[in-house]
Symmetry: C2
Subunit: 334 residues, 2 copies
Amino acid sequence: MEKATIKDVAKAANVSIASASRALNGVGRISPVTKDKILRAARELNYVPHFGARSLIRKKTDIFGVLLPDLYGEFFSELVRGVDTAARASNYQILLSSYHNDAKETKSAIAAMRGRVDGIIVMTPYEFGEITYSDVIGAPIVQISSLNNHGGTPIIAIDNFQGAKIATEHLLKQGYKNIAHLSGPKVNMEAKERLNGYLDAIKNICPEKIYEGDFREESGFEIAEQIASDVKAGIIDAVFVANDMMAVGLINGLKEKKLKVPDDIGVVGFDNVPIGRYVTPSLTSLGVDMSQLGKKAVEILNLLVNGKPNSADTNKLVVFTPHLFERESSIKPE
Amino acid sequence: MEKATIKDVAKAANVSIASASRALNGVGRISPVTKDKILRAARELNYVPHFGARSLIRKKTDIFGVLLPDLYGEFFSELVRGVDTAARASNYQILLSSYHNDAKETKSAIAAMRGRVDGIIVMTPYEFGEITYSDVIGAPIVQISSLNNHGGTPIIAIDNFQGAKIATEHLLKQGYKNIAHLSGPKVNMEAKERLNGYLDAIKNICPEKIYEGDFREESGFEIAEQIASDVKAGIIDAVFVANDMMAVGLINGLKEKKLKVPDDIGVVGFDNVPIGRYVTPSLTSLGVDMSQLGKKAVEILNLLVNGKPNSADTNKLVVFTPHLFERESSIKPE
DNA sequence: TTAATTTGCGCAAACGTTTACGCATAATAA
DNA sequence: TTATTATGCGTAAACGTTTGCGCAAATTAA
């Protein structure tokens, strides 16, 4: 039951180590009959190639690293699912890690992956200044980030600006007149971009009105009081909320204030979290297929690692524009 | 920018490879001043130890494998989060993979991890017959499974039987008289155990009434028609549903049939998915803290890998009994 | 037949580490 | 002073693979 090495297999099959290796890998010249003998012996001994030894000489690990800000929620699990599926299809495994939303920890998390992976997918909603990832890690990187972060590494971006614009325009199209925005935390780039998309959409149409939140559900709930009073004052009649969880909190808060969504106030969220389909009223939102996005990330990484380094690829920018999921919270009656 | 090896570091610092290694690892005898010189050189060269070479000689990878049935939903992301946190705390990384709910794929998924991990956490809601995992992988295993699956490997189990019993008894305590059960697929052990818990709870109290579902939301929605008619016929007045997603589907289906939950019929789910808090009426459910469970799994695996193999540990059985989360769907009025 | 080519296989180097061992030199004890 | 012990460091083996090279035997061509 001690782990068998290729040496053991070779001995059992009465051949040299070299032949054993050739048989096991199906490369090089070897006669069918000895090959068979070797494979049989390997099975018999329950032989498993030593991963480290192999990666040592092959100079690759067949592992992709995936580094996420956090592991909360359906959002990330969808992404990971897409990555896993695509990675497996190209015979890669995934080494998963999160940096617990602590931007400072990102570097050390990346460092921990160095040498263990052939490439890395990292999701960074924050700004990172001057770090060139390939320096830090010595392996190709695909970043999942925002448009503004484009600086030499391939990036897959969700077009938050465009999405926010679509959201806001949807509210306008529904007949709402005074659209406000409930934003995310200022340090978050996605939050910024969504804010800008909102601003762009209402320009010359209605006055801007911005509430600042922090992406958490409670934050939406708490701001409801102020928003409710502004609605009653006739200042606003709809809100584009920077993410769904805040929108959910907001809707619950508005309920407490006896305001009706979407009658008294229209609400659109962002992210299209599954919960959105189940709340009452169901939540109109914008989102991309994260699983698809994960797949794309693997695809690009694969190219970077295994293809010839075409500069068009290494500088790639892939944009996913969020899709509008129209539900009840934004359907203005009458 | 070519990857520096320890040899390069040694050369740059004008010492032997052995000294470099000692300095880098902080073991063995070495003078502070040379150590400093070496560390400086290493930093300068951006040195990263080659993972494969290291694991080759150390005979360990510092990686734990995590193998899940699937990657859908908050359920798993919570588990992974717990595992990640605990693993990182003990300096392990995690290699994540799913077998796509295809029991047959489990073995090959395990095989793919062989040699790459020091231990593995595998979640198996299915029965697996005669497989002894340690044979298959040659590394310690912690299984997350059900009580019945206890066969020599350490297991962390959710006590589905007990949970189901608690759920059913809760409905009885609320004053519902004829409790039915909407079950999961028969091949699923958790489904079986929940069914048994239900049966045990109603024994000698009310007649059994079982609907068979398949854990999917649609399945709950579809069965609603039949359940609604049985409610109207006065045959049942509450359902313990084998998982939350079906319960959500069921509630929506019942709404269409103009039945009021919890007034006309009480509903309790299982799993305590986050969505449950947001549906209307909010869903009473049973669940364990999956993140905590993941933490526990790592803890045991750590013991198995690094501790002395105490037989009390290798045969460990840790039971998590689900906790009742009382919400609106089961609160009988008056 | 002989010459040329192909096939099957083994030898040994290389990948980048860690670590037991031994040998100088320095520090301490007598 | 000399004998003992402690310290700092280098040499080399070992970990388990893959693969270029070379050689004998078998096959094919002439």
